[in-house]
């Protein structure tokens, strides 16, 4: 029972309960805030795993930018909760629970039996492991082409968002009563 193990158990409990809170809260704002807690805890796990740079990126990009975007859209639409959830497929929920329990059991079996093989054990981190310098060197040398491809992906996403959310001004002027 080292300090690190106690820390792992405590943080893991927080992560699981934050995820459950996201799943169970009926207000979408609370869901988003629970998800921010979960992302922050996962960033702490990255620090434990020797990935300080990834942890900082997790906090700034995930917990910062992406969740702010979520909260912005929720508040923009005023869609914190559905007016009356319809649940057209009544058999879907129990079936989903059963199937996910099966998935969890299968994943647990695989993790418990297949992981501890002839792999190299968890290595004590070499000096500079996970540092921004080491990550940058790998990213800009070995993974340069995928890195450039992501810029194209982001550009495509940006153009798509602009096209999707653009309001057709001519159509709106022709029929002003349809939506305001």
């Amino acid at each position: 029972m080292t300090v690190e193990f106690v820390l792992f158990i405590a943080l893991g409990t927080i992560a699981v309960f934050a995820a459950l809170g996201m799943l169970l809260s009926s207000n979408a704002i609370y869901s988003a805030l629970f998800l921010v807690v979960n992302f922050a805890v996962v960033a702490a796990f990255y620090l434990l795993l020797g990935a300080p740079f990834i942890a900082m990126v997790q906090v700034t990009v995930y917990a910062g930018a992406i969740m702010v975007l979520f909260l912005f859209v929720i508040m923009l639409l005023g869609a914190e909760r559905l007016r009356q959830p319809t649940y057209r497929l009544r058999w879907q929920q129990p079936l989903a629970i059963v199937l996910v329990l099966a998935l969890l059991g299968f994943a647990g079996y695989v993790v418990a039996t297949q992981v501890t093989g002839a792999w190299p054990g968890p290595l004590e981190n070499a000096a500079g492991y996970g540092s921004p310098a080491a990550i940058g060197q790998l990213l800009f040398q070995e993974y340069l082409f995928p890195f450039e491809a992501t810029s194209l992906l982001l550009l495509t996403a940006m153009v798509g968002v602009v096209v999707l959310t653009a309001v057709d001004e001519r159509r709106r002027r022709r029929r002003p009563s349809k939506r305001s």
Partner: protein, 100 residues
């Protein structure tokens, strides 16, 4: 030094919670958040494996997953805004025009 198995078990639990969220919730924005949770648990497994093998490639992959997640969130939220404009609701059960 915590064994990689524990991290993988935690990753599996978080992924399963995300799957339940996608299947059970009817609010489109919450479904997107559950997808984010699944991507995040996959990232956790990547970083755990990177430590297991003493290589940094897993951490590089986390970058690409984050990029894809950011693009997916931007496009997905734009879709949700467009659906909300036409139907004034983001209940995924009410988006059933293709069923006739």
């Amino acid at each position: 030094m915590i064994a990689t198995t524990y991290y993988l078990a935690l990753s599996a639990i978080l992924f399963s919670i995300g799957v339940v969220g996608v299947l059970v919730r009817r609010n489109a924005i919450v479904i997107f958040m559950a997808i984010e949770l699944m991507l995040n648990s996959a990232n956790l497994a990547f970083v755990a494996y990177a430590r297991q093998f003493g290589a940094l490639d897993g951490q590089i992959l986390v970058f690409f997953v984050m990029t894809v997640a950011a693009a997916e969130v931007a496009v997905g939220l734009a879709l949700i805004v467009a659906i909300f404009r036409s139907k004034a609701s983001i209940d995924v059960d009410e988006v059933n025009l293709l069923r006739g």
